[in-house]
Amino acid sequence: MNYNSRLQLLRFFLFLALSMGAMITDHRSEWLKPIHTITTVVNIFFESVIGIPKNTFSLLNRYYPDDRLHQRFVELQQKQAILEVRLQRYEALEKENQRLSKLLSVSKRFANEVLLTEVISFDLEPFSHRIVINRGIEAGVYLGQPAIVPEGVLGQVSRVGYRRSVVTLITDPGHGLSVQIQRNGLRTIIQGSGKSDQVIVPFLENLSDIQTGDLLVTTGMGGRFPVGYKVAEVSDIIKDANQAFLIITARTMAQTGSVKEVLLLRNNDSSNNDLLTNPKPLHSGTSGESGESGESR
């Protein structure tokens, strides 16, 4: 009589305790990280089987390309040429900028290596704001690595596995990020709202100089994100005299629904390397710190 209900109840409480223990260890400590690295093999198996229809379709497309594809190719080639010219100017500017910041003895905050990754899946669960990308520990992805798309900041790596990593989006309610308004340099933090493509600016006082349409960019504080990347655009400001703070929502520049490729930034600077292995805020006490070091699991 294996299905004696009292025995089953006992078992349930045993498993309940076991799961609670596992969840707490997983959330609070790093002990289960090796397990996560190994279990991505299971993910790869399932995801590759699920990807079969899509992959065969793209394979067919590769061998039987149509005119539109050729047209697109020509378009992209032209665009590439234009961008290359612009890039040359940008490189010169960056060099100059680096020289100047060295003069000012500002710590270097340029990402000089970029890793291109593909998105495997988003909406893992409807209430989670995470995406899975196809590079992991074998490509040198590390915890807390900033992830961006050409439109702006997307999020940061919150779990690293073998050939898979999880990126927590900036719209996740557990994610905070230090930003400044591009127009006047006012620093604040943003927090995920739990709704897609929407973040909130929780701590700006009623008299703060902020308008709809203001662009929020990263400040580089906390040491994770390099300075100057676009994050979000203020879309709605509600002023309530009874509240201490303005109620501000902003729309993220990165449209998470249509993201196919994600760029992971990496700073080769040796002075920042200890930060990569041990992701803790650089300085304490500045307003942005608490936000950016806020855990994002």
Binding site: G21, A22, L124
Partner: protein, 164 residues
């Protein structure tokens, strides 16, 4: 152990249905169905717990939950608790529930699925302070609407393979 892995045993057949259910859980649904994804694993687990409670029970439910945790990259144990609970309810009430009409079973599936989602959402709220919204429970509704189909398909399958 020997019996469980012999050729006649339903072990592989049951595992097969679970794997299919896991695949169905992993498939990406269109944007408007985002919250209304039926939980296939939970339905399959519920069926087997009703049909063969001496083979599939709390342990199986917990294991399937752990596999789901791995596939969803969530905290280990987040789905497992809910699935173990589903199995517990199904196993301890299987004598009664077997006699229910299909629509009565649907109601039970809805309640059990809601509690299952509740566990997951609760843990999610504790770890990332997500605001809990009623829309998360749409999945329970679709699960209970799909239950008659799952029931009939698995019933047919079970009698074909003669699992008892």
């Amino acid at each position: 152990m020997n019996r469980a892995f012999s050729a006649k045993s339903p072990f592989w057949a049951i595992l097969f249905t679970f794997v299919i259910a896991l695949f169905l859980n992993m498939v990406q649904y269109p944007e408007w169905m985002k919250y209304a994804k039926p939980d296939w694993v939970m339905l399959v687990l519920f069926y087997w717990c009703l049909a063969v409670p001496h083979r599939v029970g709390v342990g199986c439910g917990w294991l399937s939950g752990i596999v789901l945790d791995i596939l969803y990259y969530s905290l280990l144990g987040q789905h497992a608790v809910g699935k173990a609970f589903v199995a517990l309810i199904a196993v301890s009430t299987h004598r009664r529930v077997r006699l229910y009409d299909l629509w009565q079973q649907c109601i039970l599936v809805f309640i059990v699925a809601s509690i299952d989602i509740g566990f997951t959402v609760w843990v999610y709220q504790l770890t990332t302070n997500t605001e809990i919204r009623l829309v998360f429970w749409q999945s329970a509704l679709t699960s209970c609407l799909i239950w008659p189909i799952v029931y009939n398909v698995l019933h047919f399958f079970r009698h074909k393979i003669r699992i008892s």
